[in-house]
């Protein structure tokens, strides 16, 4: 086991690794000392739950990767009760790690499985449905208003819509602007019409009223 995790750690980009055995805990580890045992125990619990949930849905699950800005975590079950976990640099090539692990495990898996001397756990799982038919063709891009008299008001109106709708605003705004501008060259005097369309998209009278108040200063004087 120690050889396995040492082999893994020798791969560029791997910070450290450990082996966890069900009901027995961490068997060996070469993670840096910053990873305290209690922290390793906590993240292992979560990793096992993530892996188990995946196994219940996908009988053919191979391994799990979780990417954070600071690091990447890896978890693979290599016998019914043994898991190898690794902490890697976020830019680590997943293919390199997987292939290196496959080679290192070839030697270890058989021996560990024999040591366990227990029948393999039968996990009932089903493979979820296959991917659907290809996605429809991409819609036409919204017209560009990066320059001209509409550039500034549209930029501000888009930002203000995000205050009302949150992250979905960008999509709603682009789409509404595309419809609004279709078949014509809009001018600032057409902006109230756009605001009306956006308010219909907001679909909440209070929020729509708030949006109208926010964008008022960007509309032409009545």
């Amino acid at each position: 086991m120690q050889q396995l995790i040492d082999d893994l750690k020798s791969i560029p980009g791997v910070i450290g690794a450990y082996v966890f055995r069900t009901n027995q805990g961490v068997q060996c580890s070469n993670l840096p000392s910053i990873f305290k045992p209690e922290r390793i125990a906590d993240i292992t619990k979560s990793l096992i739950k993530i892996h188990t949930a995946g196994k219940q849905n996908f009988a053919d699950l191979v391994e799990v990767f979780i990417n954070y800005e600071e690091s990447m975590l890896f978890c693979r079950q290599f016998t019914p009760s043994n898991y190898v976990m690794a902490v890697c640099d976020p830019g680590m090539n997943l293919g390199v790690l997987a292939m290196s692990l496959n080679m290192a495990l070839e030697e270890v898996s058989g021996r560990v499985a024999a040591e366990e001397a227990s029948p393999p756990e039968v996990q009932e799982a089903e493979v979820l449905e296959q991917p659907a038919a290809p996605a429809p063709p991409a819609a036409a891009s919204p017209p560009s208003f990066e320059k001209g008299p509409l550039a500034k008001p549209l930029e501000e109106m888009s930002k203000l819509l995000a205050k009302i709708l949150g992250p979905m605003a960008l999509i709603v705004f682009d789409d509404t602007v595309a419809k609004w501008a279709a078949g014509r060259t809009p001018t600032p005097s057409d902006l109230p019409e756009l605001v009306d369309s956006l308010c219909r998209e907001i679909d909440d009278s209070e929020k729509a009223k708030r949006y109208q108040e926010l964008v008022q200063s960007y509309l032409p004087a009545a």
């Binding site: 922290r39 979780i66 449905e129 991917p131």
Partner: protein, 125 residues
């Protein structure tokens, strides 16, 4: 067509996206293109929740994505978006790196837009 449907349409247009599901962190389905979304919703929610638990334990920043690796790249990739999770089932033999980059860029733009606006609002006060 609602904003969420438009969001879904944008996701569907990304190369390599097969099926998808958007679920709230309490497990409620927002939108999907699956025939039986319940099981995948549970997996997306549980996976996302525990990935965020690890993030808190280790003091990491927000998790970028979680990948369930399967043969022929039929992977399930889970992203977080505020209080939602987006789960994507990759098409067979599609390019995983490209898919992750495109989805991440798209979600980053959405999140960044919101953060920028919140900052502006705070500055106004």
């Amino acid at each position: 067509m609602t904003g969420v449907q438009r969001f879904a349409n944008r996701i569907e247009q990304i190369k390599g996206v097969g099926n998808y599901i958007v679920a709230r962190n309490d497990g409620q389905i927002v939108i999907h293109n699956l025939e039986n979304p319940e099981k995948l919703t549970s997996l997306v929610t549980i996976g996302g929740f525990h990935a965020q638990s690890i993030q808190k334990t280790l003091g990491f920043s927000e998790f970028g994505y979680l990948i369930y690796i399967r043969p022929q790249n039929q992977n399930l990739i889970i992203f977080s978006l505020d209080k939602y999770y987006l789960g994507i089932l990759q098409k067979i033999d599609s390019n995983q790196t490209q898919l992750i980059e495109e989805v991440s860029r798209f979600l980053f733009n959405l999140k960044n837009q919101k953060k920028t606006d919140n900052t502006s609002k705070e500055e106004e006060h």
